[in-house]
């Protein structure tokens, strides 16, 4: 993966930039020692690393504004960082950048149950947003597998999803407002405790813009009352195609489960070893969860089980207790960690029309043979959001490159059947150069025009999202302007 050469003029100004940042931030909020900036050299896409020039950890929106104003004046690129859990390299630094981490901004600012929202600083972790409203039996719905660690800032940047978004939607559907600092230091407030925009839906385009339009410091999030109960059922099949058909039939029946998760043999085994959830030994496992009162759950699950039975399942088991349900979900949410015990892996998240599931799984199997790399599949089947995990050995020369080529083939396949490159992880650097497979030059130009408006110098999170050759003219213009 290529990254642009650092701008030597910016590197030459390091000491001046450092001095200016130290004037507006507390001493411990500016990190400049190379031994310490190394901590920010990568995110969860660990194959790519580059220590930043400097890192800052502001505590207030005013400090964020000061940092951005200075970097804007000095022409220094800024890479915003939440908790650094991006699987797409969304927070990968460039050597000439300032990392702006929001980790110290994690306060709850307002909790309002009557109006069903919470306002938080965006360094707060996803799970601790729910933690803040749990005693009133409320929760924040988007639940990425990394929810223990990942920050709301990153969730907004990537428009994160999770297992339960089949019913509750992804981040953009649960985000009511933001306070955001633009690259020139101006602070804007968009949305709030009311619904929808009175003008253009700027909130909608900021969510998912991968930190390229501004740094979101505060977020107003929709919170929901917890359902009375929830219960998963496990369904094992000896054929992927049959499992895929079962998913489609459940959806068509009028029941909307809160989650429909899929795992293949390799993942089932890895997760079972990890969580001892009692997963059956089969080709394709579905975890289907429904919510409601006990009677409502019984009713929905009996309808779902009836549908499953028509597809000759090799296993059909309702969770019998809260402990068992917790284990079932622990196994699923630990899938990436469990696979990591087998080998290094690369995780993709291309999304496809649900009807193409069997075909895509078959093609991935064939590609796996061709490349000689094993692949496990675990994904949100209800919405077609795949998660092929390609196993490789980072210490074996050529394996990473082979894995990336395999990954690119899978993602192109997702696009070719009517899907997209990424359903919830974001483009980052990982899928940047594949964007031209999904979008025409005019399509990309329309998206880049939005960045031109918010960040005319292209200083925020540069060299992400758009193919390097496509964004080159704009990035070169920025360097020349200095």
């Amino acid at each position: 993966m290529e990254m642009p050469q650092p701008n030597p003029d910016v590197l030459a100004r390091k000491h001046r930039v450092l001095a200016r940042l130290q004037q507006v931030l507390p001493e411990d909020a500016v990190i400049h020692d190379p031994a310490e900036t190394r901590a920010y050299e990568c995110d969860a896409l660990t194959a790519y690393r580059c220590p930043p020039m400097l890192a800052v950890l502001p505590s207030t929106t005013q400090e964020v504004s000061d940092v951005l104003r200075i970097c804007h004046e000095e022409g220094v690129p800024v890479v915003p960082r939440g908790a650094g859990t991006s699987l797409a390299g969304g927070a990968l630094p460039t050597a000439d950048c300032v990392i702006l981490g929001v980790a110290r901004m994690n306060d709850v600012l307002e909790t309002d149950y009557d109006n069903r929202f919470i306002r938080v600083q965006t360094g707060r972790t996803n799970l601790s947003v729910t933690g803040a409203v749990e005693e009133e039996d409320f929760f924040y719905a988007p639940d990425p597998s990394s929810q223990l660690a990942c920050a709301i800032a990153g969730n907004i940047a990537m428009n994160s999803g999770g297992a339960h978004c089949l019913k509750y939607g992804v981040t953009t559907n649960n985000l009511l407002g933001v306070k955001m600092v633009m690259m020139d230091g101006r602070v804007v407030e968009i949305g709030g405790a009311h619904l929808d925009s009175g003008g253009l839906d700027l909130l909608g385009v900021i969510c998912g813009s991968e930190g390229q339009l501004g740094v979101v410091t505060e977020a107003t999030l929709r919170i929901l009352r917890k359902p009375e109960g929830a219960r998963p059922v496990l369904m094992g099949f000896d054929d992927n195609e049959v499992a895929g058909q079962c998913v489609s039939d459940i959806i068509k029946s009028g029941i909307l489960p809160v989650a429909i998760e899929f795992m293949d043999t390799l993942c089932i085994k890895a997760c079972e070893n990890f969580a001892h959830a009692g997963y059956p030994d089969c080709t394709a496992l579905l975890i289907v969860e429904v919510e409601g009162s006990e009677a409502e759950i019984d009713d929905q699950l009996s309808k779902i089980i009836e549908i499953a039975k028509r597809h000759n399942p090799v296993e059909l088991r309702e969770s019998q207790s809260a402990e068992e349900s917790a284990k079932i979900w622990l196994g699923r949410k630990s899938a990436f960690g469990a696979m990591g015990q087998l080998n290094d892996y690369m995780c993709l998240d291309g999304t496809i029309p649900v009807s193409s599931l069997p075909e895509v799984l078959r093609r991935i199997g064939e590609l796996s043979e061709d490349y000689g790399l094993p692949v496990g599949n675990v994904f949100h089947a209800g919405d077609g959001n795949m998660h092929p995990l390609i196993l490789f050995d980072a210490n074996k020369p050529g394996d990473l490159e082979k894995c990336e080529a395999f990954g690119a083939d899978i993602l192109k396949l997702c696009v070719d059947v009517g899907g997209c490159l990424t359903g919830e992880h974001g483009v980052g650097i990982e899928k940047r150069d594949l964007m031209s497979h999904q979008y025409t030059p005019a399509d990309l130009e329309a998206q880049m025009a939005v960045k031109d408006v918010f960040d005319p110098q292209w200083l925020l999170n540069p060299a992400k999202v758009f193919p390097l050759d496509v964004s080159e003219a704009r990035r070169v213009a920025q360097m020349a302007a200095e």
Binding site: D114, C165, T172, V188, G192, D196, S197, G198, A295, E424
Partner: protein
């Protein structure tokens, strides 16, 4: 002639029109999308539907109904309210981000919009999003197009997430005379785990209304639970004709044959009583648990001046053209949002061809 070619040949502003049912006026000539009609893809098992922008909403709803599915954001029909005729199109619904009472539970039109194809001001065909339910590939121009009233481009195709149609629907009504008391009751219901899919207050009827949808047994159970939980606020009784009741709220039927200007105010629900008090309205209708206030006021009233600073925005939905000209249809935005909006429009439509003046 291809839409892109038509736009590429334009040198003067046009008014973009779907079915012409939303009361938009502006320059002549009209650029109609009515010729772009038809459902291009419908996969009930994947909950997705793709249609050309000029497809009548009734055609889409009929196709969905045949599979017991629906547009969950409940697009409203404002023809009677606005005195317009014609067939509402899906492109028009998307361009205006029209969402009904179920907005509070299921989401707005923008939340169900998976992808768009449009022609920008240079006559280029642009696509964004797609037809899958989760998509974070690049910037979300889909949301930007929803509610852009045609000012960023002419929609030619939209793809939507659809949902199952509920098996049963029931409505609870509770007599309430004060806006504040009504909003408190609606809020209590929306804080419950019983998945209320409509929460409105009709002062003229003197009723706060709750809608419950789903499988029949579940609806009966949740109705019972809500009646118990809300007993502190009064007695909630089931109301006949639930569909008609909610259609009237969705379409603001209450104001149909009454004189005056119609405003639509989105606000924080707990501010609704204060907002309502400042309006000096002849008639009110509250939806979205109080978060949406419909107001019928004397012609020419400057509601934004009466409201002053508040958390939300006020849209002038029905008034004489001169009034809309003077007051503006949409709430003016503060800086720097106004500049961002203006600059975006200039990027998407550099010649200022599309619906000039409609969004400021």
């Amino acid at each position: 002639m291809e839409l892109a070619d038509i736009v590429a040949g334009l040198n003067e502003p046009v008014r973009i029109q779907g079915g012409g049912t939303r009361g938009v006026f502006g320059p002549e000539p009209v650029l109609s999308t009515a010729g772009l009609s038809g459902i291009t893809l419908y996969e009930p098992g994947a909950l997705t539907l793709v249609a050309q922008a000029g497809t009548p909403v009734t055609e889409i709803e009929a196709a969905l109904a045949a599979e017991e599915q629906q547009l969950a954001f409940e697009p409203a029909d404002y023809r009677a309210l606005l005195g317009t005729s014609g067939e509402s199109t899906i492109g028009g619904v998307v361009a205006a981000n029209i969402s009904g009472p179920r907005r509070i539970q299921a989401g707005a039109c923008r939340d169900f919009l998976l992808g768009v194809r449009y022609v920008d001001g240079r006559g280029q065909v642009i696509k964004n999003g797609g037809r899958v339910m989760k998509n974070v590939t690049g910037y979300d121009l889909v949301k930007l197009m929803a509610g852009s009233w045609g000012t960023l481009g002419v929609l030619s195709e939209v793809s939507l997430k659809v949902l199952p149609k509920p098996e049963a629907v029931a409505v609870l009504g509770m007599p309430v005379t004060q806006v504040s008391a009504a909003v408190q009751m609606l809020s209590a219901a929306l804080k419950s785990p019983f998945e209320v899919s409509g929460a409105a207050y009709d002062p003229e009827l003197g009723q706060a209304l709750l809608r419950i949808e789903g499988f029949a047994d579940s609806v009966a159970y949740r109705i019972g639970q809500l009646q118990r939980e809300l007993s502190a606020y009064g007695e909630a009784a089931q109301i006949e004709e639930p569909e008609e009741t909610w259609r009237a709220i969705r379409d603001v039927g209450r104001f149909e044959d009454k004189e005056g200007d119609v405003w639509r105010i989105s606000t924080k629900p707990s501010d609704a009583a204060e907002v309502a008090a400042r309006l000096e309205a002849k008639n009110l209708l509250l939806d979205w648990g109080g978060g949406l206030v419909w107001a019928l006021v004397d012609a020419g009233s400057d509601i934004r001046a009466r409201l002053g600073e508040f958390d939300g925005h006020a849209t002038l939905v029905r008034a004489a053209p001169e009034t809309i000209q003077t007051l503006g249809r949409l709430q003016p935005e503060p800086e720097p949002l106004a500049s961002l909006t203006r600059d975006l429009r200039r990027k998407f439509d550099p010649k200022g061809l599309f619906n000039p003046g409609l969004m400021g």
